[in-house]
Structures are given as C-alpha cells and as structure tokens.
C-alpha cells in the first residue's frame, strides 16, 4: 500500500513542478526500404513509417492519461538515410527527405531524425550525396532532422568532413536566410554519436540497434531546479554533497517515470523497449532551465568561475540517480546546454556573462556540446569548422559524445537578438573571438589520429 506522503510528493512533482516525459522517440530501421528506383524506395519508406508509427501519438496520449503525465513530444528516428541513397543521386536524397517529412506529419509527430551520415573515418559516395543535399532538404522540409558524425574515439577526427560541415552549415544558413538560418537548428555535427539517442536533432538508429524500439527522453531541468529550491528552503547547513544527493534522488524518480511510460508504450506498439536518456533538456519556458539549476547552486551569473564545476556535479548526480533507477540507460544522458532553448543561458549570453569559450569548457563535463548557439552570419566556414574540431577533440579525448549545432544568422552581428520561436526559443548572437584565423589549420585536412588509450593525464 502506498503512503499518503508518497502520493502527495509525486502529485507535487507532476503538477506543481511540471514533471513530464520529454520525448517518446520510435526508432525504426528502414534499411529494408532500399530499392532500385526512387519512387519504389519512397513508397516502401512511407508504407513502413505509416504501418509502424501511425499509432504512436494515440498510444502515448492514452498512456499519458492513465498515469496523469504528459508525453510532450512524440518523434521518429530512422536508420541513416545514407544507407538508402547508396547507388542513387541527390534527387533521391531529396525525395527521401520529403517522404520522411510527409510521413512524419501524417503520423502526427513534429520531428523525424536520421538524415544522417557517419563519416568519422571516411566519406562514401552515399555519405557525400547526403551531405551535399543537407542545405536543400533542411530548407525544403519542416520536420526532417540531420546529423553527421565526424569523429570518434576509435577513428579520430575526419578533418576533411569537418571542413565540409563548416561549408554546409554556412550554405544551410543561407538557404534558410528568410528564417534567420533556422535550417541549421535541425543539423547536428557529432563526435561519438550515440546509436540510441531519442533527442533531436541527433536522433537516428545506429548499428546494432533492433528493427524497432522505443527510446525515452525524461523530464527537463525544471523538476531538478524545484527540488533544489525546496531543499534549500527547508534550511539547515547544506553542502554541495547534500545538493548532489537531492539531484540524484530527483533523477531517480524522473528516470523511473520515463522507464514506466517507455515500457508500456513499447508493449502497446509491439516493439522493443530501448533506452531511457537521462539528459536534462531545457525548454524556453521559464523555470525549465539548466541555467536556473546553476543559479540555485549559487552561481549568480552563468558563465562565472565555478560554472564548469557546477555543471560537472549536476551531470554526475543525474547519471548516478538515473543509473540506479534503470538498467536501460543510454543515449546522451547528461545535461544539455542549448543556449537559445534555455531562457537563463540565453539571458546570460545577452548580458555578456557567458562566452563561447566558457560554454566550450562546460561541454567538456556534460553532454552534448555547443548547442543552439547563434553566431554572426559572416563567420567564415573555416572558423565554423575549427569550432567543430575543438568540440570534437573534447569528445574524442574524453571518450564522450559532443555535438555542435551552430546557427550563423545571415545579416546578424554579435549582440543582435534572434527569435526562432516555439521550442527553439530566442538567442543573442554570440561573439566569436579570433574569427577567420584558423583557416590554415583546417585546410591541412586529413585525419587527426585516434587518441592513445593509456597515459591518461
């Protein structure tokens, strides 16, 4: 029998602190849709998505009602589109993107990930087709999300691909100039990209994954922030160890909710349950912010000295609580710092407290990297590539995932304010110091070799 205090404490989390399930992502392998003609390929792809995913939204809503907890986003992820375009040209890649976009819309999901190429060691002809198509497909579709893995612990960093991604990001921004370069918000460049990530824009179905699985992203930072504030209000002498404990307990509770919903959705859809991703994913909503957690921990200005240590403690406590709650933890599982999507981070950039360099330092102890950062529209492609290389180096050397989602806003200068709207929020264009002076390094190309696995200092 449950105790009344237990029930009331859950009600507090669910309804006063807005605990939700951030995303239920249905991951589908679509390699079996390969076909000799684009028409047949797209028909098979559409049929597969509709037959497997048509009930996703209805099932999530029904199970959400049963437990009184909203499933905020329902999404699709597919195996890398590069597998499907092997032997085809760019026209097929664009047709696939349109099919994914329409099928996702018909299923009622807002985003579909998997327009993906894995090029950490080299670029195949199919990868090249996918990469070249990115500016066009990101401009012409609404729901399709793209990702390119340019580095890994075992392969090192493919600097030719990094340089190419710098150029592609610029071209994508220009192709979506009317929307302030918004196409780039649907494109992530990764090192050590996880195969089972449920979060966009990096969700896709990697090698070794089942034919179909449900992957879950748990609730956002608002719940952790509220728990910390409640603990602080109770008073008494508190140390960072006590606050880490509070984060750990909250992460445990949140993860258990994610697993409960995920397993039931998977059962109802007749597919495997994949993973729970513990990541704290902020939204522009006030109170749902990783930045506010840092403030609750005593960092008055986000970006001030101490910010990296606070993010490290937060990320570690989230992992510890989540790992105890579920044996199926995966994906990115850390704390996101998506600047435009997090009201407090966005405000810290606007106030000049948070610099690109400090963000980079903070990403060395959390997932997932330099995320949703608006940069000046005239930033040279080689500088964008050099930023990607820096972030990839953090991932490769520390054996963790890092990603880059930069938005060069056409016509915008550092300090300008940009609105992306909805979940993507708003951002102040960040200053890139020393832009335009890394070109010679990037142009050398080739591969930065994989790091040594011993001598770990």
């Amino acid at each position: 029998m449950l105790r009344t205090e237990e029930i009331l404490s859950t009600i507090q989390m669910l309804h006063a602190e807005h605990l939700d399930v951030r995303t239920v992502t249905l991951a589908l392998n679509v390699d079996d849709c390969a076909a000799p003609t684009p028409d047949l390929l797209c028909r098979k792809l559409r049929d597969k998505l509709l037959s497997r995913a048509a009930r996703l939204v209805e099932v999530c809503d029904r199970i959400g009602r049963k437990y009184g907890i909203p499933v905020t986003n329902k999404r699709l992820a597919v195996s890398p589109v590069s597998h499907l375009v092997a032997g085809h040209g760019q026209g097929t890649a664009v047709a696939i993107a349109r099919t994914l976009d329409e099928a996702a819309g018909d299923c009622g999901v807002d985003l579909v990930g998997g327009f993906t190429a894995l090029v950490e060691k080299g670029v195949t002809a199919a990868d090249e087709v996918v990469m070249k198509a990115l500016p066009q497909i990101l401009a012409e579709t609404r729901r399709v999300c793209a990702s390119v893995n340019v580095a890994s612990r075992r392969a090192g960093i493919n600097m030719d691909a990094v340089a190419e991604m710098g150029r592609i990001i610029r071209r994508t921004a220009e192709a979506t100039a009317a929307e302030k370069g918004f196409g780039c918000a649907k494109l992530c460049v990764f090192a050590n990209m996880p195969e089972d990530n449920p979060f966009m824009a990096g969700a896709y179905v990697g090698e070794g994954e089942p034919d179909a699985a449900v992957n879950i992203g748990v609730s956002g930072p608002g719940v952790v922030s509220s728990a910390l504030q409640r603990r602080i209000q109770i008073g008494g002498k508190l140390t960072l160890g006590d606050l880490a404990e509070e984060i750990k307990i909250t992460s445990f509770r949140v993860t258990r909710v994610g697993e409960l919903i995920g397993r039931e959705v998977a059962e109802a859809l007749g597919v495997a349950f994949g993973i729970v991703d513990l990541s704290l994913a902020p939204t522009p909503q006030v109170g749902d912010s990783v930045g506010e957690i840092l403030k609750a921990l005593g960092i008055e200005r986000i970006g001030a000295p101490g910010s990296t240590a606070a993010v490290a403690m937060l990320t570690d406590a989230v992992k510890k609580g989540g790992a105890f709650a579920s044996s199926s933890v995966g994906g990115l599982s850390g704390a996101f710092l998506p600047v435009s999507e997090d009201a407090a981070l966005s405000a810290a950039v606007a106030a000049g407290h948070l610099s690109l360099e400090k963000l980079e330092a903070m990403t060395s102890v959390c997932s997932v990297g330099l995320d949703m950062i608006a940069v000046p529209g005239d930033t040279p492609a080689e500088t964008l590539a050099a930023i990607i290389a820096d972030e990839a180096a953090i991932g490769v050397m520390n054996d963790k995932t890092t990603g880059v989602r930069l938005i060069p806003v056409p016509g915008a200068k550092a300090g300008d304010r940009v609105e992306f709207g909805g979940l993507f929020g708003s951002a102040t264009v960040i200053e890139i110091r020393n832009a335009g002076v890394s070109g010679a390094f990037v142009r050398l190309g080739g591969r930065i070799p994989a790091p040594i696995q011993s001598l770990k200092n």
Binding site: M1, L2, T10, I11, R62, R65, G68, R256, L260
Partner: protein, 193 residues
C-alpha cells in the same frame, strides 16, 4: 487466512490515544490463552483505533470477549466484537487495477459523498481513503480498484465534471506512477497487489 486457534473473532477498538492501550488488549488476550492473528492500528487527531483478528482455544460469546477487553475503568475502551468468518477475505475479488484519486480545493460538505457515489455506481471499491482539512482547504487521497471493463477516459471525465461543478480539482492516476517515483520495488509487481 487460517487463524492459530479454531475460535476466531474480529475486534474493533476505539479510545482516546494514550500509552498502554495495546499492552492492555494484548495482555487480556494472553490471559485468555488467545493469539493475535492480524491487526492494523491508526491514530487520527488524538483518537486511537485498532482492528484485530484474534483466535482463542476455547469458544467465548463475542459480548463476553468485548467485556473482558473493555475492562472496568471509566475511561475504558470502546470495543466491538463479532465472529471472524474466513470466507469473507477468501471471496475472489473481481479483476481490477489499482488507481489513485487525488482531490484538492476549498472544503465544503458533500465532496466525498459525490465522488464515492460516482465510484460506487461503477462497482469501484475504495481500498484506502485519506482526507485532511487545513483552514478552508482540503486534500483527499483515495486508493481504488478499478475493474478492467471501466473506460478510464470516461471515468476521468465523470470525476472532472463533479469537480468542476463543486469547484475543486480531481485526478485519477494508475498506482504505478506513485510506486515508480517513491519505492524501490518494480512497478510490474504492483499489478499483483
């Protein structure tokens, strides 16, 4: 449940809470050679209540057993006794899922009556109920067993309609969400009770 001795009784005891009530009751039963087979106690606003299933080696009239337990003190215990019928608990319960109803709002008479009549009309059993009134506001937590044939969305809508008419908030959620967030046991086990 099989009791230790053949002659079994249900005792219901109420008193103003103070140290020694259980010592007194169990002492009487020990003197009679009896055994406590199950019991559950709660205290509400200074009032103690205890329900027990006890068994004795020799038969006794329920009223005689009540008199023994009650004692002679003027502030003695209020005691009700009836013979225990093991078949009551053994009756198969209809297949049902455990849910939790919570309600909050401005207190007024009749809220539990409205909600419980709605549930009773659908054969939904209340297995545990908590109500607390602080100043003018109330909190209600009810644990209920909902038969599988009940349409959950319809029931949630019915409860919401009562709450809207009476001016309070009500929620109906499967028990597993509370197990998952508070307890270390697996939620799958919750289905088996």
């Amino acid at each position: 449940m099989k009791t230790r001795f053949e002659h079994a009784y249900v005792l219901d005891i109420m008193a103003e809470d103070r140290p020694g009530i259980i010592a007194r009751v169990s002492g009487v039963l020990k003197r009679l050679g009896g055994n406590i087979d199950q019991c559950s106690q709660t205290v509400l606003e200074g009032y103690f209540t205890l329900i027990l299933v006890v068994s004795l080696p020799k038969p006794m009239e329920p009223e005689d057993l009540a008199r023994e337990v009650r004692g002679k003190e003027p502030e003695g215990l209020q005691v009700l006794v009836r013979p225990f019928d093991a078949s009551v608990a053994a009756r198969p319960a209809p297949a049902a899922e455990p849910f939790v109803i919570t309600a909050f709002g401005r207190d007024k008479p009749g809220i539990i009556a409205h909600l419980s009549q709605c549930l009773a009309g659908k054969d939904i059993n209340i297995t545990d109920l908590y109500w607390n009134r602080t100043n003018d506001d109330f909190v209600m937590v009810g644990q209920v067993a909902i038969p599988g044939r009940i349409d959950l969305a319809m029931l949630q809508a019915d409860l919401a309609a009562i709450a809207a008419a009476e001016g309070f908030t009500v929620r109906l959620q499967h028990e597993n969400i509370f197990v998952a967030t508070n307890q270390l046991r697996l939620t799958r086990a919750a289905k088996q009770g």
